[in-house]
């Protein structure tokens, strides 16, 4: 990308080229916008068909609205409530009536490239980079994908929208790449679970501590923990430790359609549970800063290793199930998958809706009302 505009002074020198927001052109345009003032109408016998509303609109556009026509690089330029003063700080609310929506910052070009370099070239784990820059792990994955795609397209010489990119980054708030990473977004978001929607009155004894594990069990109507179990997990993050090693350890309750997992405490469900353990370590050993960090790194490495082997195993299973045949002289390969036509997979009458292959004696539902007829997913 072209050198980004860094300071106001530099951008001013570039402005006539980049945005062409010169005063002369804008005044010229505004005068041509308001037909009531334009010379073309003067010879007409009747007055211009200008409604009151139109006149008011152009009046506003030529007075207060002038500010919104062009942007100042590096500043947000959203509609302000009432008159906007020159010296008042620009609002980060694009909609003046909606106080609950703010324009949030995007990753800068340099930060994106840095993330890509750290993940792909330096082979750091997504988890570590996420904590370092305060960027959500999903976003890191997306950034890596997008930067990779961009590099590919660049090498292929495909057209790009560089001036557009520059302009957008001038208009929206940007998280820069700084020496000390600026946190981009909260990374430990806990999604609200639907089963916690209900208010439950649950009396417990005051002598026994009622922890987050117990609360989760109450919400999912699981039997209460016995004292022995309770003793095994003095803190909910101990449970997290067990579950990350063996995800199958999560308990299931209920019957039939109601069969469900027991709601786990927040310590398990947040994206970075290792951080809770580090904080606990820090509270337990406030003097040993170095040792705490070392232990944290160790835990992270262990976790990464477990996840890596899990990923590799899943990949291998997937690859083993596909037999790729390349016939000689043919234009196409054949992917031969294993399929199993048993009572279980096709149903007792061979017509189960989940059976592989097309079905006999059942009309296709591509003309039924309410059925989605367009693709519901695209394979990545």
């Amino acid at each position: 990308m072209a050198p980004r505009i860094q300071s106001q002074r530099v951008s001013n020198t570039l402005l006539p080229y980049l945005t062409s927001s010169s005063t002369s052109s804008s005044s010229f345009n505004t005068s041509s916008c308001s037909p009531s003032l334009s010379l073309a109408r003067q010879f007409s016998a009747t007055a211009a068909p200008q409604t009151k509303l139109r006149r008011q609109m152009f009046e506003w556009l030529n007075t207060d609205g002038v500010n919104y026509k062009h942007h100042v690089p590096g500043e947000m330029n959203y509609l302000a409530k009432g008159r906007r003063d020159a010296d008042s700080a620009p609002s980060n609310r694009p909609f003046p009536n909606n106080r609950n929506f703010v324009s949030e910052s995007v990753l800068s070009e340099e930060l994106r490239n840095e993330v890509y370099v750290q993940v792909v070239e330096q082979k750091k784990s997504v988890r570590a980079v996420s904590v370092q820059f305060g960027i959500d792990m999903k976003r890191i994955a997306a950034v890596v994908r997008l930067v990779e795609l961009e590099r590919r397209q660049r090498s292929q010489g495909k057209p790009m929208a560089m001036p557009y990119a520059r302009a957008v980054h001038e208009m929206v708030p940007v998280t820069p790449l700084a020496e000390r990473p600026v946190f981009h977004e909260p990374i430990n978001d806990l999604p609200a679970h639907p089963s916690t929607g209900a208010q439950i009155f649950y009396p417990t004894t005051e002598s026994r501590s009622f922890t987050r594990i117990d609360a989760g069990r109450v919400f999912s109507a699981a039997p209460e923990f016995q004292d022995a179990q309770r003793a095994a997990y003095p803190h909910p993050s101990d449970l997290a430790n067990v579950i990350f090693k063996k995800p199958r350890k999560i308990e299931w309750v209920g019957k039939g359609a109601n069969y469900r997992q027991v709601l786990q405490p927040a310590d398990v469900r947040i994206p970075h549970p290792q951080q809770v353990q580090m904080e606990r370590d820090r509270i337990a050993f406030p003097q040993e800063r170095r040792a705490v960090l070392d232990r944290h790194a160790e835990r992270l490495a262990k976790q990464e290793k477990v996840e890596q082997t899990r990923r590799e195993r899943a990949k291998k299973v997937h690859e083993d199930s596909i037999n790729l045949v390349e016939p000689e002289g043919g234009r196409f390969d054949f992917r031969i998958k294993d399929a199993f036509f048993t009572n279980k997979t096709v149903g007792h009458d061979g017509r189960a809706p989940f059976a592989p292959g097309r079905r006999y004696g059942v009309p296709t539902n591509d003309r039924k009302r309410g059925v989605v007829k367009i693709p519901t997913f695209v394979k990545a």
Partner: protein, 104 residues
């Protein structure tokens, strides 16, 4: 009567899709077969990979096959039709079909 392993066409106009079926040779194409043992999608797909440059970019066709059932039916004398013979050959279940061209 001869039992054949053959393709039964499904799908729509310009969008074929086949079940690999075991059926009596004289039965209708769209009739209910003895057994379905696989599927064959003759519309080639192109692998779209946004991540990996080195991926094989040749288009491919998808076949799903219950190998155990296919072996059983071949063992009891079911005769594959020519297209199915080709597919079974690729799955490594039968030798390539001897053609008159090869014999000569």
């Amino acid at each position: 009567m001869v039992v054949r392993i053959r393709l039964a066409r499904f799908g729509n106009k310009h969008d074929p899709f086949y079940n690999i079926v075991v059926a009596q040779a004289r039965s209708a194409r769209g009739g209910k077969p003895l057994e379905v043992i696989g599927t064959y999608n003759p519309i080639p797909k192109r692998p779209v990979s946004l991540y990996n440059e080195n991926v094989n970019t040749r288009p491919y066709k998808e076949v799903a096959l219950d190998q155990a059932r296919a072996k059983y039916w071949l063992g009891v004398g079911a005769q594959p039709s020519d297209p199915v013979w080709k597919l079974l050959n690729m799955a490594g279940l039968v030798a390539p079909k001897p053609t008159t061209y090869n014999k000569a």
